[in-house]
Amino acid sequence: MVQEVIQVIKSSFFSIWNRWDAFWFSPTDTLSVSLIRILVGGMLLYSHLVWGTSLSAFFGENGWNNQALLTLLQPDGVSPSFWWYVPPQWMLAVHWLCNGILVMFVVGLGGRFTSVLAWVIAISYANRSMLANFGLDQIVCIGTLYLAIAPSTQKLSLDSLIKKWLRRGEDADRGSILATVACRLLQIHLCVIYLWAGLSKLQGEAWWNGEAMWLALANEEYQSMNMTWLVRFPRLMEFLTHVTIAWELSFSALVWPKATRKVVLAMGVGMHLGIGLFLGMWTFGLIMIFAYVAFVPSASIQSAYRWLRFGKQESRKEDTLSSYPVLGVANRERSIRKVQDVMETCILISDSRSTLVRAVAMLANGSRELVAVNSLSQAMMVARLVRNPVVLQLQIDAFDPACDWLDIRVIDLDEPMMSDSEDGFESANDRSLVSAIH
């Protein structure tokens, strides 16, 4: 009895850990974080160039953000910034040095070191110019923090070009756990931002009676386009007010399911473009839209990237698992059930999409049916449904003892690549994988 209870606790723990592991630590393509780096880094650079037009006014000891004033406002100690230690005569030199580092960050030169420096620069400027900050600075600091965690200069960067030139060939994408962590943190942070933006609005009467949208658009100091003609459409104003608050409150729930994600993000893009167009805050509107890249599947970014790089035909050819005779990528129970009648099935498990694509491409001509899944639990479901399954676990680090009954072969496709191999296979493991199946 006690052992059964322990077993249940154990299996529940592993089940939770597997879900947590799959959510946070499945390696993903670094293309997403690389794209975010260019977008957020570009905005950061622009905002710093603008700081440069009034450097001493905003960062000087007796400027708007007077040192004595900030000390008074932060009795527990001023927020850290290297600007506190820069003598006035060095300010301009330090500022241009920072801009130089930011240019390196945008073009992806210097790897993680530049990313961390970009984050330090972002928070140092924001902490020192506290009174002149707004949403833009908040999001830029958030973005650069997560980009400092992720290997964001691995793609779309000078670093990758240099590596490619040195190795005289394309660098294989091995995915990155830290890229996943960074994207997940950014996704959840956006949810927190919108949730609190919505909740805080519930305290105001204007968001209930529908007046808020009008009040925002009729604010002359913000306004960049005269929208007073909307006064003739009061119901539209009220509708937009209600939609805004409903969207903000529901974002954190509706952005996760695939069915609603596109709609939720499209509404966000519309809202932020509106903020840019009508309230003149293009920088804030755009930085929020840039952050949405974290929600775009890396496969979509990958195919857009290929389309831009190679044209339509190539992007189609290489893009998805569906290009191969595979039963499907089984993410849900109903799709897993489709393999029930198959006599012999090879189940490929990997949390890396690119690994699966590679493995499937290699095995596509074999006699077995292939099922690509991205977790052990899905593999177990498939294995229960089919006869004589062969399970191949690719690149999975955690091992769930609950899967002991499956005869799993673990193959690490991340072994060093041998692209100049005579038989065309990239590594010894690739050869083993093929011989295991055929």
């Binding site: 805080s200 204007a206 808020a212 100091e221 009061p234 680090d397």
Partner: protein, 191 residues
């Protein structure tokens, strides 16, 4: 199925990977708690969220994540700007505005100056010491930027016109939508 040479031992490497994942998980949980309680601790807030915020506040401050995300909340209201009249050594009087849409380009620069005056507007009048310190800092900057000897500051609050006012032919810049509060005259004080 016989195990062949293609099986990789999970031993040491897997141990390190699991350990680093556990470490990352602890960081992720702490970070997310901090990120969540930053806006949750803005008034009105429970004691619990304030206590959690106190625990995380140093981290939030260092990483510049201590934000409420109260955009246009609780509701879009009046905006605050400054008007000033500067007096130079020759006795010339110069009128100016902070921020000034026409003079401050690009728009981001205008917006940064607007945030300065919005901050001044958000300081409660009861916090006299803070308000005075903000005014002193702003006045000194205006004096040094323009080469004035003294400057007279006026706080301008501009409420958005109501729909009824606009329907009756009013404009957003109608004088009755502005209120003015004289803030005093400030002189150059070299430190």
């Amino acid at each position: 199925m016989a195990k062949t040479g293609l099986s990789q031992p999970l031993g040491k490497r897997a141990g390190w990977i699991v350990a680093s994942k556990v470490f990352l998980s602890v960081f992720v949980v702490f970070h997310l708690v901090a990120v969540f309680c930053a806006p949750a601790s803005v008034d009105p807030a429970s004691r619990l969220t304030r206590q959690v915020w106190t625990f995380c506040s140093s981290y939030l401050r260092v990483t510049n994540l201590n934000h409420g995300y109260h955009f246009f909340a609780p509701e879009p209201g009046s905006s605050t700007t400054l008007e000033y009249v500067g007096l130079d050594q020759l006795g010339n009087r110069t009128f100016g505005r902070l921020p000034d849409k026409a003079k401050m380009q690009p728009r981001l620069l205008y917006h940064r100056h607007f945030m300065l005056t919005e901050f001044l507007g958000s300081v409660p009048s009861e916090s006299r010491e803070t308000r005075q310190a903000v005014l002193q800092a702003y006045a000194q900057q205006i004096l040094s930027q323009n080469g004035f000897d003294s400057v007279e500051l006026k706080l301008v609050r501009h409420r958005p016109s109501s729909r009824q006012e606009v329907l009756l032919g009013g404009e957003l810049s109608d004088p009755n939508t502005f209120t003015y509060e004289p803030l005093g005259t400030f002189k150059w004080s070299k430190k």
